[in-house]
Subunit: 464 residues, 2 copies
């Protein structure tokens, strides 16, 4: 495709704001009047309009006014086949799976239903500004074929894989380790690295996995070492007890995955609400990541992830954010940031020592505060780093894929516009102003702020 360009106000990140406490702006890159030049879906230039426009005379420029343009949002943990049953009533994790989730996911064995659901899934992602998602599917081949077909058709950078389970599951929904291995291989050979698709070996969770299923995962990782691994860990106390009963040779939940050599770069454990200090250290040493899913953790009552603990520089754990739609009741990562902010603030009521003085930890407390720069880093560059795709997406560096979102900071519930006018009404935008507006987007607004979503340099979604 010919070179094209977009002119507007851009914000992305060149570093991790958590490494610049008290001076977060140093981690951000802001172009009040910037130009992003794209060719064949890839960024070929980016900078201030006045600096670089002359180099690209003749290139068709789309002007995006009154918007903040960020890299597309990255969701580290989401469930394709729960699209219709998000927000199901009243159960904690384990009974919820049995009552609501497995019956719905099973419908994706039928191609027609899978196609309907998958279309809704991708439409909802784009309407939420999500351009990349590490996705759980089901253990059924048809469901996965439909997923990768649609991801390919939309040309989106997606990570997914056959989601296997063979314990604590109804027979109609269970895999065997052999079928899991065979069907995973089929999908890997057909889809991994084709177009923008990336494959993740996906044992649903330790509580649902026999030793044989996990051994099949280990075999696949040895045969295809550059694959991702996507699973759950330590989401809910009963689940943790249950997995240690099932794998009684392990001391803790992470040990179950370590036993099979699965923990390292490109490994994601979703939730991690009940991880111990030892497990956090081992995550960090292995270069593995946690997908923090606050909306789900609140919705299922799983608990409060120790975000500030995970981000301790002494053993920094890579963290992405996940909607965990449908344990999470919303598709939008903006709501995940809202709930992540709330989890952090709840953690701090303990960590400020006002209840138990012995619990005071002001440094950890500080890391629980989800400032807007921390927040939007976490769902762009931070998410990309956690998922080991930061060479491909997550910022406006030359050579990266041109996935981005244009946000209208006035859009959302009726209270949004007047609130935002406290920070800005007219004139040139500054980084400080944009930071304040983005906080308003995440706490007062919602996915209505997503005005446009672009995939590989092409407009893929325009809000009506």
């Amino acid at each position: 495709m010919a070179k094209t360009a977009v002119r507007g106000t851009f914000l992305d990140f060149v570093d991790d704001p958590y490494k610049h406490v008290g001076n977060e702006e140093a981690a951000a890159r802001f172009q009040a009047d910037g130009l992003l030049v794209v060719e064949d879906g890839v960024i070929v230039d980016f900078g201030a309009y006045d600096d670089i426009a002359s180099t690209h005379s003749g290139v068709e420029i789309t002007e995006i006014r009154d918007r903040i343009i960020l890299p597309g949002f990255i969701d580290g943990h989401i469930h394709l086949p729960q699209t219709r049953v998000l927000g199901a009533y009243g159960e904690q994790l384990l009974p919820w799976l049995q009552k609501w989730v497995f019956p719905e996911e099973h419908k994706y064995s039928e191609r027609e239903y899978a196609e309907e659901g998958t279309k809704h899934f991708f439409d909802n992602l784009l309407a939420s500004g999500t351009t990349t998602a590490q996705t759980f599917t089901t253990g059924n081949l048809t469901c996965n074929e439909v997923f990768f077909e649609e991801a390919s058709r939309r040309n989106m950078r997606m990570i997914a894989g056959l989601t296997g389970i063979d314990r604590h599951v109804p027979d109609y929904f269970a895999n065997t380790p052999e079928q899991f291995y065979d069907d995973s291989r089929t999908l890997i050979e057909k889809w991994h690295g084709k177009g923008r698709n990336l494959y993740a070996i996906t044992p649903r969770f330790g509580f649902g996995a026999s030793n044989e299923l996990l051994a099949a995962c280990q075999k696949l990782k040895e045969e295809f070492p550059d694959l991702w691994i996507n699973t759950h860990i330590s989401e809910n106390p009963a689940e943790v007890h249950g997995v240690l009963a099932l794998h009684d040779d392990c001391h803790d939940y992470l040990g179950v995955y370590e036993k099979f050599g699965l923990v390292g770069p490109k490994f994601t454990g979703g939730h991690g609400v009940w991880l111990s200090n030892s497990e956090f250290r081992r995550f960090s040493e292995a270069g593995a990541s946690v997908a923090f899913c606050p909306s789900s953790n609140l919705y299922l009552g799983s608990g409060l992830f120790r975000l500030g603990r995970a981000l301790d520089p002494e053993h920094r754990v890579l963290v992405s954010y996940g909607t965990d739609m449908g344990g999470g009741n919303r598709f939008s990562l903006l709501n995940s940031l809202e709930d992540g902010y709330k989890v952090g603030m709840l953690n701090n009521t303990i960590l400020d020592g006002s209840i138990l003085p012995s619990e005071q930890d002001l440094a950890e407390s500080e890391r629980n505060k989800l400032s807007p720069l921390r927040a939007f880093y976490s769902i762009t560059k931070g998410g990309a780093e956690a998922l080991y795709i930061d060479d491909l997406v997550g910022s406006f560096d030359i050579g990266k894929e041109a996935d981005f979102v244009a946000l209208d900071w006035t859009a959302g519930p009726p209270a949004t516009a007047w609130h935002q006018s406290l920070s800005y009404s007219d004139g040139p935008l500054t980084l400080e102003t944009v930071s304040d507006l983005l906080f308003g987007v995440m706490m007062v607004g919602d996915e209505r702020a997503v005005d446009q979503t672009w995939i590989a340099g092409e407009l893929a979604y325009q809000k009506a």
Copy 2:
């Protein structure tokens, strides 16, 4: 005004669903094809269309199709002058007040700004389906005059009063007890019982009140015994410690208000997150109520209100829901229900005994589950009962004021419609179906579900 009528699908409550565990439907009243007849803003008839329509031949009927009509929502705790600063970053309660709130509230001393803010406030309430709110204003007379003028113009059933504070407050914003008493009296005599206005004696909170200010409140209550009393209690641990340092002759926070004879029917303490068992009992015995503000409690990290404990039939505490906008980051009570559901589920991770077996309490746990019928009772009849206005609003009984809301269950974020289709696509609605759809509205939808809001039998808001 001439008689008018509305035909549609109606849901309201005849009893408290918490008193019908396992059979909540017994507390609800459902009309799949109902007729509500209104004259001079008051309900004069209500029932199945086929039963009563013939009695009202010649009356102009508005048909509301494809909607669920409920009584207007009741917000037990909200701050008019925080309309613009909702969602302010990063502080727990006490520093948040100093940094963000007092400076903004002070602007309402200027009539022009107060009028602008008050218009936004009421517009946002109506767009959220809220038809009655017990409202904090400021300690300034102008602000309160503007409030009651606008409430009168809109003919809404509102409770509010001069919001006094004289401790831990910047000088520019402080009342004196004498000025608080005098200006409160002025407002009471001018506005209480005029039109639909009701007055609440409003000492902002014990942490911000000298003995003299509280004594002024006591005097007002003795002089005007039918007034409401609206304040805060036990929201945040540091605040609790602080109030007991300020009022060191009291054992607990409720004791501060009891000392001045303020606790009884029509007394509301907002939040109550850190209330002791003894305080819950005394609330119950006094017939006083708590306004549960889950969005705010999460947003400011205040903690998790023990909803199931408050609703223990042995000492049932009256509970309303409050958005607490702007400590709460949203105007819509639907988001309060969403967050209330999450608080209940988080409570239950303790109460199921999976962490500490000694904490198991399955009965309390059951009361933490916010089913849709419990939820919508709580923001209609339940809220009215807690605020002692259930003779006036909160259900479709003959003689009550005709405030109601028409909800479109398909509206909200993009995922909403397909999710709701799991429960209903066509044909007659049933109570069971409507209950499921309402859960979708509160957990997957948002204030976009509010299609129309009617005040005293007249359409006051139509979604664009």
